[in-house]
């Protein structure tokens, strides 16, 4: 037999084997594992891989209290999480309990009609009413924020003390603060291009906006970005940039690079948010941090002291086969003592009242529960192109474009997207 023919035979045999496996695989089903008697299994889908251990501990307690329920976690990265659960909902195979971000992503799930209406559930009462707002649509409560984030710059207390500085009360004060820092060779604000504009725009806008839902109106075409309030905000960004209050090359700086600079105490403020405090502390255990927001108007015109975002909203799938078990698990998460366990294990501040925080950073953040804060305006935008246009206009200004021109460019993009 010639070698070539033999080779052909080998290939043929392999092909047949593969074909057999493929075809055979279609017909068969794996033998089902023997069921544990009468255990209800619910699935909890979220994107916080770093909290897996904390949730495992909580789930263990929950299962001990409810021996008939078993909870599984399914975790994806935050971008993939959304895509995945949306696909699963469409296939009627969604998670029973799931986390969702406020804003456009929340709106998507509302559009699909996959939320269970949990209005009036008793376990919600531990969350202050204004913090429940992001999970509402059309007067119904669909999801409840679990974590509370303050989207205000983090500042280095030691540096402030060294130059005898206090968080300012108006725009003049803020500029003077920056000037003092700069004169002393300290970078006043560390600002990155990756998440910075999306974060810092909120406190910069909160007192300039004609109404709290101004950005929603922009998206509806009722307000324009070319109007004074927005152009003024861009001008203020320009002022900070032109006066050298940001570190050099903002546009080339990424989130991690900015955080590293702050942790190395090379700058006084980090224009990101409270969620950075724990990791900053980890990078530099000597760091003493506080939160402050720039007040872009005079003290008497101030409406808000800062920005908050109620996020990591938890909801129940309307199509869940185990709605009761799912609700039970959700209620468990909102018990203050359980929430405290989670908060202290993960370093996250929560929306839930009566939680005892243990770390310095969390106690610092907890003070802000008493302050006048506005829900993050950026999250009220539900059309992501509009959000991107606004963020880009800030970067354009930092890149040297005139504020009026950047505002016009952003408005043109908004017009293009929302026409119809």
């Amino acid at each position: 037999m010639s070698v070539k023919l033999r080779k052909d035979l080998v290939v043929l045999t392999i092909l047949m084997l593969v074909a057999g496996l493929v075809l055979g695989g279609c017909g068969q089903k794996k033998p089902e594992a023997p069921k544990e008697p009468e255990k209800t299994v619910i699935r909890f889908a979220h994107w916080r891989g770093e909290d897996k251990a904390a949730f495992d501990a909580i789930i263990k307690k929950f299962e001990a209290e409810n021996p008939t329920i078993k909870v599984e976690q399914s975790i994806e990265g935050s971008e993939k999480h959304d895509t995945k659960i949306l696909a699963e909902f469409q296939a009627k195979n969604g998670p029973d309990v799931f986390a969702v971000m406020p804003g456009a992503r929340f709106a998507n799930v509302v559009k699909g009609g996959w939320f269970l209406d949990i209005s009036g559930e008793k376990f919600l009462e531990v969350v202050k009413p204004h913090l429940r707002l992001p999970g509402q649509d059309g007067g119904k409560q669909y999801a409840v924020p679990y974590q509370l984030v303050l989207n205000d710059p983090v500042y280095n207390k030691a540096i402030f003390e060294k130059y005898k500085l206090e968080p300012p009360k108006d725009w003049k004060g803020f500029l003077a603060l920056c000037e003092t820092l700069k004169k002393n060779g300290v970078t006043p604000i560390i600002f990155d291009s990756e998440i910075g504009p999306g974060q810092f725009m909120n406190p910069m806008l909160m007192n300039n906006m004609p109404s709290d839902d101004a950005l929603v109106k922009v998206q509806k075409g009722e307000l324009k970005l070319t109007e004074d309030w927005f152009v003024t905000t861009l001008k203020q960004f320009k002022e900070l940039n032109d006066k050298g209050y940001f570190q050099k090359d903002v546009l080339g700086t990424k989130k991690a690079g900015a955080a590293a600079l702050f942790a190395q105490e090379k700058g006084a403020m980090l224009a990101q948010g409270s969620y950075m405090m724990a990791s900053n502390k980890q990078a530099n255990p000597n760091l003493k941090q506080g939160l402050l927001a720039p007040i872009t108007v005079s003290a008497d015109k101030m409406k808000y002291e800062g920005i908050h975002t109620a996020t990591f909203m938890i909801a129940v799938n309307k199509d869940s086969k185990n709605v009761e078990a799912a609700k039970k698990f959700m209620a468990f998460l909102f018990k203050p003592e359980i929430a405290a366990e989670y908060a202290n294990a993960t370093g996250q501040m929560l929306t839930i009242s009566g939680v005892q925080y243990k770390t310095e950073e969390l106690m610092e953040q907890a003070k802000w529960l008493e302050k006048k804060t506005l829900f993050q305006p950026r999250y009220m935008i539900t059309v992501s192109e509009v959000e991107k246009a606004i963020v880009n206009s800030i970067m354009d200004v930092i890149g040297g474009m005139a504020p009026e021109k950047a505002a016009l460019k952003a408005q043109q993009e908004v017009d293009r997207v929302i026409k119809k």
């Binding site: 043929l12 456009a104 291009s193 090359d249 546009l251 080339g252 700086t253 690079g257 890149g399």
Partner: protein, 291 residues
């Protein structure tokens, strides 16, 4: 032909896979591109060619994106081919040292592009990045750039990373091509008195044409399909300066939830890639060499 028909069963598994994973999605993308589906709700409306019209006539971002693709492609194809050829010629002999260097140059290829991106984000960082620090130490401050922040150079900064990551891979193709050129051709050229440049010009380069065509074809496609690197390094920013078609498509679908529009982009994208591939294989066929 008829007596071979039972053999057609053997291609069935492959054919099925092709149909399920390629033909079917391609056709359904074509269908979706004519609708305004948002990817979430089941409802979708037929809108005809509106998506295409919007994209090709009224979307400045799409136009910019396409331009970015061209810039990216030209840079990557030129420099990646040039440098991989230079390295291949330096490392063509199978000495122990050369094999070591080849492996070293190949290494970035097997690193996940996300990791590559993170390495380079730190290289390019304006304040703590090694590149600018290095330039400062060499007293070359005037060369310091906002590598990923400057709209005019960000796309090239990423293109450099793409080259860095893939030069080793392409170099291997060139080395294989160089090694398949019979040594005696070089000896004849030497006896006939060709200078090193003449040898390259008249012997190496023409005989390397098939490898070079493969490399250029591969690199072009690779540059069009570049995605994860840019996603991780700039996500298309600043101000869409590094947004390329694949990223644009992704943003339309998964950030803006415009699946219909994204599908239309996908169709255009597919057409572009297919026509480039076709063109290049035509050239490849013309450049065939047999000894």
């Amino acid at each position: 032909m008829r007596k071979y028909w039972p053999l057609s069963f053997f291609i069935l598994p492959g054919l099925l896979m092709y149909v399920i994973f390629f033909v079917f999605p391609a056709i359904s993308a074509l269908g979706l591109s004519l609708t305004d589906w948002n990817g979430i709700t089941p409802e979708r409306n037929f809108v005809g060619l509106a998506n295409y019209k919007e994209m090709l006539t009224n979307d400045p971002i799409f136009a910019q994106t396409f331009g970015n693709n061209i810039k990216y492609m030209l840079f990557v194809v030129f420099f990646q081919t040039l440098f991989s050829l230079i390295f291949a010629m330096m490392l063509v002999k199978n000495s122990r040292m050369n094999v070591f260097y080849r492996a070293l140059f190949f290494l970035p290829t097997i690193i996940a592009s996300i990791s590559v991106a993170f390495i380079w984000i730190f290289v390019y960082d304006p304040s703590i990045g090694s590149l600018n620090t290095f330039l400062t130490k060499l007293k070359l401050d005037f060369l310091i750039q906002s590598w990923l922040g400057d709209k005019n150079i960000a796309i090239y900064s990423i293109a450099v990373v793409q080259c860095w990551a893939h030069i080793g891979q392409v170099m291997v193709i060139f080395i294989a091509g160089l090694q398949s050129i019979p040594k005696s051709l070089y000896e004849v050229a030497r006896i006939e008195g060709a200078t090193p440049w003449q040898t390259f010009r008249h012997v190496t380069w023409p005989l390397l044409a098939p490898s070079a065509t493969i490399v250029v074809a591969y690199t072009t496609l690779q540059s069009f399909k570049a995605f994860d690197l840019i996603l991780a390094m700039t996500d298309g920013g600043p101000s869409y300066a590094t947004e390329i078609l694949s990223l644009f498509l992704y943003h339309q679908a998964f950030n803006n939830y415009k699946f219909g529009y994204a599908s239309a982009t996908a169709v255009i994208f597919m057409l572009i890639v297919a026509s480039i591939t076709l063109l290049q294989f035509r050239i490849l066929r013309a450049n065939k060499v047999s000894y």
